[in-house]
Symmetry: C2
Subunit: 304 residues, 2 copies
């Protein structure tokens, strides 16, 4: 939901307004978001010169441009199942003047690549859309060479809480969760990335939560995250939520107002992304795993 | 709820089992917890030699010992409203052989200290018990000298989520929230520390969330936090919750079972503490504030 890929599981039961990356306002929201969250999500994303990276579910290319700029000497293959998204991503990569990216239309459940043909796999805001995420991860595991890594970044709408609290706002958010579930996805997938990756065949999975904490002392996040990313995303499901009979229009609107209420001087907003850290989640072919058992975990998250 | 102080607002409507720090099992839980969480909560707590620190709501002294050991050349005055807690804290400090701590029975709403008589104030798991937290903070603000700091650490039970998700587990947690509210406290106070401190007269308040993320790759936290701290805390409110008619016993027990279910190999558990960072929240007497406007915020939390 945070960054657009039209997963193959998208069943088309909801209005076009709900589809990611297809209208100007949504594109603007995704750009706002990438600017606000890029450091949070990508500060430890780095691929060495000459390495090959498969980006799965690139959508309209918002993360692609960030990745390819950060790692100019790595070679990216970015795929998406949607022809429209691929076309937009190609335009975006071209406008950015990036020569180290190839965009292809492809399905994570029918990947047109040989086994062990990539050094790294990057998956951002994709598992949330898949009805069979473990199968997708197992497919990606097969594509990785010995010593390869996977990076996964997913949100979790159940990690949202705020002050002042509001049952209406929670109900509006729950509409998004239900719509995504109805479409075969999972808006609560962030908390689940550890078991999904383990089940998909990865061992030594290390999850690094990235909490976005917003209060009035952080005005860029108030505007860039709470208002223009999260509240805008929830506002975007009004029509399908009301049409599906999930909520009364007045209650939904009250919920959106209450989300905006958290952007006032005494308001607080919290959301957490979950990242599988590439440095600590390396594929080791021909080994039984367990070599990371001695890695000293830092069992906590902290922030200034 | 996490660390014991019997706030003066404690109304005695609940069974003794709910009272912090009074029985052996609760004491053991508090020790387990302190050992698990000490780095998370205290890694940036440091007071210089010769400085005076007021610890408010020291309870049975679990944090007191940690603080006084970490800062052997600072002088601590630790207060609690409960005579029983004060007696236990004195025993504990004596057993630890700490000479830099004075324990006194005192009420944060009737403080027996002169204005501007401390360099630092430390408040941990206390605001959650107070029905008038802003008044308490304003009182503490008065005690601080120019250049003094306040450190606040509070939990937030609404920050709890887990996999597998469970409505019963959420209902059991909600019992704790309701009981604490009934007692005049607020188990969701963590998200609120920013506005509370601002309203209490502090400016340039900087909140640093400390997320505890637990999955099977972090076995010490599975045992020390999910099982022995959080689930044990919820288990502790079974009797008062059932007696108050908040929940059916069977549903409560199912909820506790489901909390323990999150400690299995595919389970995940998340909880967040909120710390007001002392380094960034300094009292500046005789100034209109705003001098921290140029501090570059790092608007996010991250962790390995």
């Amino acid at each position: 939901m945070f960054e657009g890929t039209l997963a193959e599981t998208y069943t088309g039961t909801m209005s076009e307004a709900y589809v990611h990356g297809y209208d100007a306002r949504e594109n603007e929201r995704l750009r706002d978001q990438a600017g606000t969250l890029v450091e949070l999500l990508h500060d430890d994303t780095a691929y060495p010169a000459g390495s090959t990276v498969l980006e799965v579910g690139c959508g309209v290319g918002a993360q692609t441009v960030t990745l390819a700029r950060r790692c100019p000497d790595a070679r990216f293959t970015s795929i998406d199942v949607s022809a429209d998204s691929v076309a937009e991503a190609r335009r975006r990569v071209e406008r950015a003047g990036l020569a180290n990216v190839e965009i292809r239309q492809a399905d994570v459940f029918a990947l047109p690549f040989d086994a062990e043909s990539f050094d790294h796999v990057f998956v951002c805001f994709v598992l949330e859309h898949l009805s069979r995420p473990v199968e997708a991860l197992a497919n990606l595991h097969e594509l990785l060479r010995d010593g390869g890594t996977i990076t996964v970044i997913e949100g979790d709408h159940g990690s949202t809480y705020f002050y002042p609290d509001s049952p209406s706002a929670r109900a509006a958010i729950e509409c998004q969760v239900m719509l995504q579930r109805e479409a075969g996805g999972n808006a609560l997938v962030g908390r689940q990335v550890y078991p999904l990756l383990v089940e998909g065949g990865f061992d030594a999975v290390r999850v690094s939560p990235r909490m976005v904490y917003v209060d009035a002392s952080r005005p860029d996040l108030v505007d860039g995250f709470t208002r223009k990313t999260f509240a805008a995303m929830i506002e975007g499901v009004r029509e399908p939520a009301v049409q599906a009979g999930l909520i009364e229009p007045a209650r939904f609107d009250a919920g959106v107002r209450d989300l905006h209420r958290t952007t006032e001087a005494d308001g607080v907003f919290c959301y957490t992304f979950f990242k599988v850290s590439p440095q600590l989640s390396m594929v080791e072919r021909g080994k039984a795993g367990g070599s990371w058992g001695s890695v000293r975990w830092r069992g906590v998250a902290s922030a200034v």
